[in-house]
Amino acid sequence: MLMLRRIISLMIKEFRTLLTDKQSRMVLVVPPVVQLLVFGYAASFDLNHINYAVYNEDRGVESRQLLAGFSGSPVFVNYGTITHDSQIKPLLDTGKVLLILHVGEDFSESLHLGRPAPLQILIDGRNSNTALLALNYAQNIVLAFDGRWNRRHGGRPAPAVLIQRAWFNATLNSHWFIIVGIVALLNLVVTLEVTALSVAREREAGTFDQLLVTPMTPFEILVGKSLPGIIIGLLEASFIITLIVLWFHVPLRGNIFALYLGLLIFLLSAIGIGLMISSLAVTQQQGLMGAFLFMVPAVILSGFATPIENMPPLVQWITYLNPMRYFLVIVRSVFLQGASFDLLWSQYWPMLLIGITTLSMAALLFRKRMY
């Protein structure tokens, strides 16, 4: 009972330090909302605006029919027409167009003679992902033209055709993938912000020594210092999840309790890391550096933007230490794949392990690090 009272008073004190100062209150509330809105709209791999230029040396109707496929597509935007080789380089160099469609002068003739009709696609490969996606789109338009041509000119059907379909996200809208990941991203940032400085600030002010001579045990200090982070994290996550469902209309298909269990364990592990960093730090600056030093790799190597499977094995092993990696799988599976507990155990326990280890380390460091 006494213990509970002590923990609660420490919690209240922690909340006061976080919320009394107007500036630091704003820092906790405003950025996550703004970030969700901005990044929610910004972060997407989908191409919806591919500028292209046409260099058509052919005079036939057929080339115009092929090009109509591009101008009629919602993703391709015609930037202009060029008439000379020398115009290609400046357009691509300055990034004014992503690709140039070059139709050779014998295009229509070849088509009618049944010879392969040449279409050259010159593409800016600086951003290889964009280039590959744009090429895929272009290929599909050409394939559609091929199909129409073959049907109209009595060509035989191909011996086999591919029928492509996507599960969980039929239109392959990469926006969903990223926006759901933002739950993990912003929660990691906020919890680290709240916890990473909490011990360091007191160390710097000398009040942590005072805390240690009170009857509070390290365990109680640990609980009192982590609960505010968990409460703030849960509130913030709930708010973000609500916005994602109601504002961005991303389907939440799975079991919401499975999501919250994951969230709770994720917050525990993030707080454990934050408190550990904080107890290692002597000054606030060091605490902040530590939080930064953990956060940046944790975000970039979490699978948030680029898949973990593309990483070399050594880096993949490192990512097993990153709680965000597991939580990203959980949010994405619950939201998009409709997963429930049974598919997610393999993600829960490593996070829990990280949480328990880091929290115990933090509690140990409270006492050990006395100066």
Partner: protein
Amino acid sequence: MNNNAMRLRGLIRKESLQIIRDPSSIGIAFFLPVLLLLLFGYGVSLDARDVAIALVVEQPGPETSSLISGFSQSGYFAPQVMLSIQEAEQAMMERRVDGIVWLRSDFAKEMRSGHSAQVSVIVNGVDANKARLVEGYVNGVWMQWLARTSEVIGRPLHIPVKVEQRIWYNPAVRSRNYLVPGLIAVIMTLIGAMLTSMVVAREWERGTMEALLVTPVRVKEILLGKIIPYFILGMGGMLLSVAMAIFLFHVPLHGSLLALTAASALFMLTAIAMGLLISTAAGSQFVAGQIAIVITFLPAFLLSGFVFDIGSMPVVIQWLTHLVPARYFVAILQTLFLAGDIWPIFLVNSAWLVLMALIFFRIIRKKSNKRLR
């Protein structure tokens, strides 16, 4: 004049001593970029290789085995042959495979008869970007196999339009070639802001700023005294990063070293100005640190065009990206490395950087003057 120089020298000396005595700044400037670039340079890649894919073969035959070998030899796939679609669907639910190619039992028969055999491809759309790339790779393997096989079974394909692709600047379409220059911009934003975001706040918090203000030192000199040492430190880190990009990650550098140095110096100055601004505006180290995290790393990561294409963002967000200095540096670096000295891109983006740095310094001056009163 002589006095000015002396005062400035004194301040620089003080700041340099502080840097040397607290090794964390040196760590941030040299150790951190190397570590981050190593980790991310190897870790961040959008080139899918060895994608786990399930090939459902209901009835094995010569056609199916040639398709399987087509998949495994492409280098893009690590195909797992499965006997039933249920097995493959289960594997996809458990995230063991990213796609399914389903060859039904009548596949070979349909191919040899006059019809078209239908082959279903199912990709896991949770990671839509990867799913799209996987679809593209499947198509590539499929078309090659189809062209070969249709000859063999005597139903040659007629493909009216022959597409010839020319990929400029990055013919191997290696994502590392554009991600590593972008990473340098992201990392340097962090370094610049981290180095300086707390230095002024620290002085206010410790009360040494007031002590400094009663001396004849001018605000301008205090600021210069803080900028110069950190600028030198930051440029050292930049040099290391660029060297790593070229020699370790083998990103080709087509542009000139002069342009690269100029752009780097300009960007470093802007990043440091941003850090100082945060530091001046915030009342405490705590708030300064939090603001630094919020407005440097995430925008540099998400809004700079480093991974997410700015051209595809909604117009309002595109305007917002103009407030992110890293955006200009990403554009300059990607072009300098992969395409060469393209002056229109270089000059426009440099002009934006200059403008941002000037505005930042102007606000810092103003804010500092105000606090004097």
